[in-house]
Every structure is written in structure tokens, then in C-alpha cells.
Amino acid sequence: MNRILPVLAVLAAILALWYAAVVPMNAGWTVAQADRAGQELTLSDIVADTMNQDRPRLPAPHQVAAELKKTVLDTRVTSKRSLVFHGWITLQSTLWGFALGTAVGIGMAVSIVYSRTANMSLMPWAIISQTIPIVAIAPMIIVVLATLGVEGRTVPKAIISAYLCFFPVLVSMVKGLRSPGPMQIDLMKTYSASAGQTFWKLRLPASVPYLFTSLKVGIAAALVGTIVGELPTGAIQGLGARILIGDQFGNPLMIWSALIAAACLAAALVSIVAALQSLALLRMGYAR
């Protein structure tokens, strides 16, 4: 309860601010409509109307909730109108991108820790890669993959997602693999341990807490990468595509419900990784 209360308090504050913003954002249209019809509106009429427009500039929370109920619960999950369907499309690419990004991040970290050359050549490029706007390279990735004969959207989206996801994993794993102190390394030397033994028995287990911390950031980044990957690529499926289509067809309810769905998906994914983290660290004897 002590942990839930602050979260609920913040949520209530956000909802209050949101409702407060709905009135001025949508009032213009209400007043214009009334003018055209030659009606006089009281303040309470205006407030009531701003909360229930069909195409509001800013939909009220209860409208978004109703839209979510309609597209999540009341629609068959196989339907193209179901947010579960679009969420699943996005989730698939996210998980592929997460797996790929994590593998690339760990692989690069290992080579950077073990090779001076890799440290000096790879690390600057890894940092530079993160300064390029992902929206700028996403279409290029699609075009290049299409030229190579890759069908469908899943692979390019996963690659764009991995592009964002690998970096936090790389940085944390470099730190984690380097976390054993000189004494620990010397101890392995006194056993005449091979480089492989030092890696498997010392460096890798020592990096596990660092890895999980970065996976929490990484999976959120992977989701953002997938959604961004769905925006400029002409995709018609996925939460990102819903946001884009909602924008193009002037349907803010569609944008907002996709947005909330993406946020819930992110929260669920991060929670799952956090649970795995607690479990792994408990089993490794870290927890107390």
C-alpha cells in the first residue's frame, strides 16, 4: 500500500491536469458551432460539450478509456480494429529487436573489454550511432533490406528497435565485465586460470547485476524503437501505425488510445524484466 499510494497520487494529479486542459483545448470548436447555430451557451454547457466531442483536439480521459474498452475488450483480437492485434504486432518486433540488441550489446562489450583495438575503434562509433535521429535512418534500413529481398516489416522494425536497444546494454556490460577489481584478477592469475575461465567464472557472473539494470532500459528502448520504426515506413499494422493513421485521418481518439496502450505495454515489459532481475539476483545470492 505504501508503494501504491504515491503512484495513485501522481495518477490523480495527471488526470486532474488532463481534465483541466480539455476545456480550453476544445472550447473553441464548441463556441464556433454554437455561433453558427445562433445558440447562447452557458459555461456549464461549454464544459459539458468539450468533454464529449467526436473529434476533440484533446480527448478527455473517459473518452480514451471508452475507446480503449472498445478496441481492446469489445473487438475480436484478430480484427484489424483491435488494439490487442496491433499491440501484438509491435510486441513481436520489440522482442526480436530486444534479443538482437542485447546480443549485439553483449558481444560488442566482450570485444571491447578484451581488445584494445575494439575499445578504441568500436566505442566512439557506438556513441555516434546514438546521436543520429532514428527517424532519419529507419527508411534507409527499410530500403536496404527490401533491396536484399527481405519481405515484410518485422525484420526491419526489429533492426531499428535493436539499434536503440543495444547501446545501454553495451555501456552497462562494459562496466560490468570490468567490475572485478585488480585483486580478483590477481587471484585468478595465482590459479593459472585461462582467459576463458576468468571470463566464465569471474567477469561474466560479476556483470549480471549490471546486465539486468541495462535490460530494463533496453526493453523500453526496444519498444520505442519499434514504434518509431512503424511511423515513417508506411506500416499499417502496429501501435506506431495506429498513431500515424489516427493523425492522418484526424482521429485523436485513435492516437491517444494507441499511446496509452504503448505505455501499458512498456510498463508490463519493464516489470517482467524487473521480476526476472529479482529472481536471478536472489538465486545468485545477492539479495538479503
Binding site: M183, D186, K189, T190, A193, A206
Partner: protein, 261 residues
């Protein structure tokens, strides 16, 4: 050079190149440690006592002179599992249980599963940690952790135990207890022990010989034979004989100091 020497150093020099110029960590260190001896190294920081131990272990390469361990080079001796090394910190792996930590060198050296279990049981009994096999390091006190790290160094039956201020971070009561235990362990295993310390009473209580060292450059200024009997109860430290040896060590340390101040 004698046949019975566990460790022999001859005119050992070691110079570290640093940004501020060269630092002579060891100069002309010549010393012979016989099998079964307990030799303490004492001196202020920077006198090279730890460096000497690291050279013996092959963790540092001397820039001059020669060191032999069991008649071979330090690297060969290490491959022959001639020595176990105990560091100032226990350095147990937090993700391994106590038994798992003690098993670490055995895994690396490729012992069989049953042999590992036997050895882990035996050395944990030796350091009085039976029953703590499945605990994780954080569940043990600092003294118990250091005992586990000694067990780890003993697990593969090296003849030589190199200990670099193993009890330096512990409080005095725990330290006394561990000193007593270490003497008992030395007594019935017959190992050769090289022991670095800052503490005069510890050096006098434990060793058969005390090597007094002095800094800048790191060198041996005195080697004191300890006339105390092998059986040493803790209260031997209040006898006049003990105090006399302690005074010689103190004098040796002071003589080394006056060199620079």
C-alpha cells in the same frame, strides 16, 4: 643455495616506471626461506613487503636478480600449484556460496567432483567453518570471510602459503583469534608461510623469523630469528622474552625510518 629452501631470492631488484619517474620498489633483496618456516615481513607502507610477496607469486616481474620457488621459477611454481595466496580482502565471490568459493580453484584446476567435495569439507573443517557451506559471503562476519578465503588458498594443497596482510582489516579481538588459529594450522600442516603485516605483536607472535623492511628504496634492513618456542599460547605476548623480540623489531623499524627523516 640450499636444497631445503622453499623460497630463495638473490639480489632482487624491481623498479616501477611511473609518470613521476622511476620508483625503486625493491633493491638488492636477498633472502632464503626454508621449508616449514613461518616468515613475517614488516615495515612501513612502500617498503616493498607486498611487492616481494607478489614477485614470489609471479604477479610482478623483477627487473634484476633472481627468485626461485621450490627450486623453479615463480611461473613454473604457480603452474605446479606450489602456493596459495591470501589477499588483504577476503575477496569472496558474492554469487557463490562459501563452499562454492572454496571450490573455485579446484574447478579451475580440474579436480573431479567427488575430490572437490572431499577437499572443500576438509579445509572448511580446518578453518572451523563446517556448517557454513551453503551460506553466502554477506551472511558471514569479516573474520569468517577471511577464514573462508584461507580455506580457499589451502584447498589445492600448496606447500607454501603467501599471506598479504590477511588480518589487516579486522578488529583486534577477531585478529587474536585468527592468529591463534593460523598458528595451529601451520603447526599441523607444516606449510611454509610468508606473511606480510603492519603489526609488531602479530609478527612476533606468529613467526619463526621476522624480516624488517624499509622504504625508498624498498630493502631488507634486518632479519630477526625468533627464539620463542613453537607452542605459543596467546598470553606469551606478556612474557619478557616476547617483549624483547618485539623491541628488536621496533628498533629495526626505527633504524630504517631515520634513514630518510
Amino acid at each position: 643455495m640450499s636444497q631445503d629452501a622453499a623460497i630463495e631470492a638473490n639480489g632482487l631488484d624491481l623498479t616501477f616506471e611511473t609518470g613521476d619517474g622511476a620508483i625503486q620498489a625493491l633493491r638488492d633483496v636477498t633472502l632464503e626461506i626454508g621449508k616449514g618456516e613461518f616468515v613475517s615481513f614488516i615495515g612501513p607502507s612502500g617498503c616493498g613487503k607486498t611487492t616481494f610477496l607478489r614477485v614470489v607469486a609471479g604477479l610482478e616481474k623483477p627487473t634484476g636478480g633472481e627468485v626461485r620457488v621450490n627450486g623453479t621459477s615463480p611461473d613454473e611454481a604457480r603452474r605446479d600449484r606450489a602456493y596459495g595466496y591470501v589477499f588483504q580482502e577476503a575477496g569472496l565471490y558474492p554469487w557463490r556460496t562459501i563452499a562454492g568459493n572454496v571450490r573455485l580453484p579446484l574447478e579451475i584446476m580440474g579436480y573431479s567432483r567427488s575430490e572437490m567435495a572431499d577437499r572443500v569439507n576438509r579445509v572448511l573443517e580446518l578453518v572451523e567453518l563446517s556448517g557454513f557451506e551453503n551460506k553466502h559471503p554477506w551472511q558471514l562476519s569479516g573474520g569468517m570471510q577471511q577464514r573462508a578465503s584461507i580455506a580457499r588458498a589451502l584447498a589445492f594443497d600448496a606447500d607454501i602459503l603467501l599471506m598479504d596482510e590477511p588480518f589487516g582489516a579486522l578488529d583486534e579481538i577477531v585478529r587474536d583469534h585468527l592468529n591463534e588459529q593460523l598458528l595451529g594450522l601451520w603447526e599441523h600442516t607444516g606449510k611454509t608461510i610468508g606473511f606480510v603485516t603492519h603489526s609488531i605483536p602479530e609478527a612476533v607472535y606468529l613467526s619463526t623469523r621476522i624480516v624488517v623492511m624499509s622504504p625508498r628504496p624498498g630493502r631488507i634492513t634486518d632479519v630477526i630469528d625468533n627464539p620463542l618456542p613453537r607452542k605459543r599460547p596467546l598470553d606469551i605476548r606478556d612474557t619478557p622474552e616476547f617483549l624483547e623480540v618485539a623491541q628488536r623489531v621496533r628498533k629495526g623499524l626505527r633504524a630504517g625510518q631515520s634513514y630518510e627523516d
